[in-house]
Structure formats: C-alpha cells, structure tokens
C-alpha cells in the first residue's frame, strides 16, 4: 500500500475535528450501568465503583424485582445503604396502601433506608416484589443524598403499594449502593437488580 498525501487525495467533503474522540458513539441520557440477576441466594447486592463508572451522571435509578428467603408470611423490607456507611446516618418515610387502608411509616437515625419490599419465600413460586428507586444528585458533594421510590408487592396475604423517600445524612458523593432484605435473610435466586444512570 502506498502512502497518500491527503492534500492530493481528491477528498472534497472533509470535516476537521479537534478531538481524537471524533466518530465515537455519543453517550445517551438514560443508560444501563449494570444488572445483577442472582443465580443463588445472596445476602446483599452491591453496586460499587460508582465514582469511576457513573460520575458522568446526575442521578441514579435502581429497578429491582426481589424475593426473600424468609419463610414467614408477607414481605421483607428492601433496604438500601450508601457508601457502606453503617452508622445511624439515614432517615426514611413511607406512604403505603395495604389494600384496606392507607398508612405511614418512618425511621430516623437508622442504619439502612427502607425503599421497598421483597416477597417472602412462603409466597407461591414466581412471585416477586418490584421497586423503582431514584437516587437524586447522587454525585453532589454539597447535598445530603435523597432517594425516592415507588414500590409494591402483590403477595397473597399482604399486598402493598407505596411511595418511599429516604435521605443519607452525608454530603459525600455516592460511590457504592447496597441492597438487602430483612436482617438474617437473603435474596432468593431470580432476584434482579439493575442500575441506570441519568444525565443532567
């Protein structure tokens, strides 16, 4: 192959770019970062390294279907912790309909935030709870991180639909996010957790 001079190649419709990234696919506004589908029972699920993989995003969203190994009736909670902060650094609130009445619940100075439910293993096979959890301004270093959720569980004895909110009383940027069921129990196989990034 010979060496060609571009000035003499006869190219007429050329465009000059000032970056070596020219021609690379453009990032999108709502992107899948990671999905975990559990192949076996697991005590918790953690999305880590978010500072490296997600700092280009403004907000994060978790979409989850979950089921707990707890054999009791009803639902486990779906609990969220940020940056492995195990201190009493969280508060949460919940507005819930249980099929009969509307009620509220709240926690303050807690070590986890309640942001959904996980159907218990006493439920028929294939029944999972669902949640959409938004982590807003996740990478701000001047705000306590706030969360909101829409979550529900249509189990036989304890149906539930709820709005949830939470706050991590720390202004650090989010670097990891952990989800777990009630203490002492695990997520069942088939539980799925997907993390999405939203640009702002």
């Amino acid at each position: 192959m010979g060496v060609y001079s571009l000035a003499r190649s006869g190219i007429t419709n050329w465009v000059k770019y000032s970056t070596m990234l020219a021609g690379n696919p453009l990032p999108r506004d709502y992107e899948l970062i990671s999905t975990t589908v559990l192949a076996s029972t697991t005590s918790s699920v953690t999305f880590s390294g978010l500072d490296a993989s997600a700092s280009a995003y403004k907000h994060l969203q978790v979409r989850a279907v979950s089921r707990s190994t707890n054999s009791g009736t009803g639902n486990d909670g779906l609990w969220v912790q940020l940056n492995a902060d195990t201190g009493s650094s969280y508060a949460w609130h919940r507005l819930e309909g249980n099929g009969s009445s509307v009620a509220t619940a709240a926690g303050a100075s807690t070590t986890w935030m309640l942001q959904g439910l996980a159907a218990r293993s006493s439920q028929a096979s294939g029944i999972f709870s669902a949640a959409i959890i938004d982590i807003l301004d996740a990478f701000s270093s001047s705000k306590n991180t706030t969360l909101k959720s829409l979550n529900g569980s249509v189990t036989t004895a304890n149906p539930s639909i709820a709005f949830g909110s939470g706050v991590w009383l720390n202004t650090a940027a989010v670097t990891s996010l952990t989800l777990k069921p009630d203490a002492g129990y695990n997520f069942e196989a088939g539980s799925r957790f997907s993390l999405y990034g939203l640009k702002g």
């Binding site: 819930e96 009969s100 999972f128 249509v154 149906p159």
Partner: protein, 162 residues
Amino acid sequence: MPDAMVALSTVTLTHNFAYWINFNNIPSSFRDLRIVASYKNVDNGIQAMVRFNGDTGTNYFNVGALSYASGALSWNNNISRMQFVNATGVSSSEYCVMQMDIFDYASTDKQKAVLARSSHSGEEDMAASRWGSTSAITGIRVSPETNTFAAGTTISLYGIVA
C-alpha cells in the same frame, strides 16, 4: 452505548375509538416495559384497563391507594384486568395520565410484577399488580372499561434495556 429506554410504538387516536389498542409481537430483548398514556373516555368516566397476552381470566391481582377530594383510601382485588384512574368528573379538555412499568416481562419463571401511577386533577392513584402467569408477555391490550376512548388519546410503549 444505546439509550436504555427505547420507544417501540405510539398510538394517537385522531377520532373517537370504541375498541382496544393492541401492542403485539413485543420483542423479548428488553428487561422491562413501560406504558405511558394520556387518555380519556368520551363520557369522561370509567377507567382504562390493561391485559396481557389476551388473558381475560381473573388472573390479575391488584392493590392500590388513591387520594381524592374526600381523602385517601386503599383497595385490592383479583379480577380480569389491571385498571387505572377513573376519569369521572374530569373536565372536557383534561386527559388522565398513566405510567406503568412491567418488570422482567419476558421471563418465563416469574409472575409479572407491575407498578403504575395514574392521575387527573382530582385524583392521584398508585397501584401494584401481579399477572399470575409465568408466560412471557408478547402482547398488551389497552382498552376503555366501557364506552370509547376519545380522540387525542395517546398510548406509547417503551422497552427498557436489559
């Protein structure tokens, strides 16, 4: 990297429509589905309903909570459909809005979990539903409970990537 939400189909009614809107042959390549709807009925009443795969059996388990002028309440049922905010009392130029997320719709080992919000100026609803089938969802039907969808009703289907 592709956008994680892909528009699959949109139907906008240019005239009153007394039947249902079907989304058929839904590809199995996404993780979740989202329906976004702006709808009303000709008589400004009744609800929109959603069914999967043409299933008209009592295989839908629903729980909801709503707020309206008289306060708030919660309900649950096991009926032949999922249903959304009742448009009764809505002004002639107002449309109800609804957003519904269907999780792991293509799975064959899960009953299908659904979360939805619907509202108009006089009522706000949230609902969770479960379709008691482990079949993959290949079709979705959106219809008025009775009567007719009004012109201007728009219903869109999105896929959320796996």
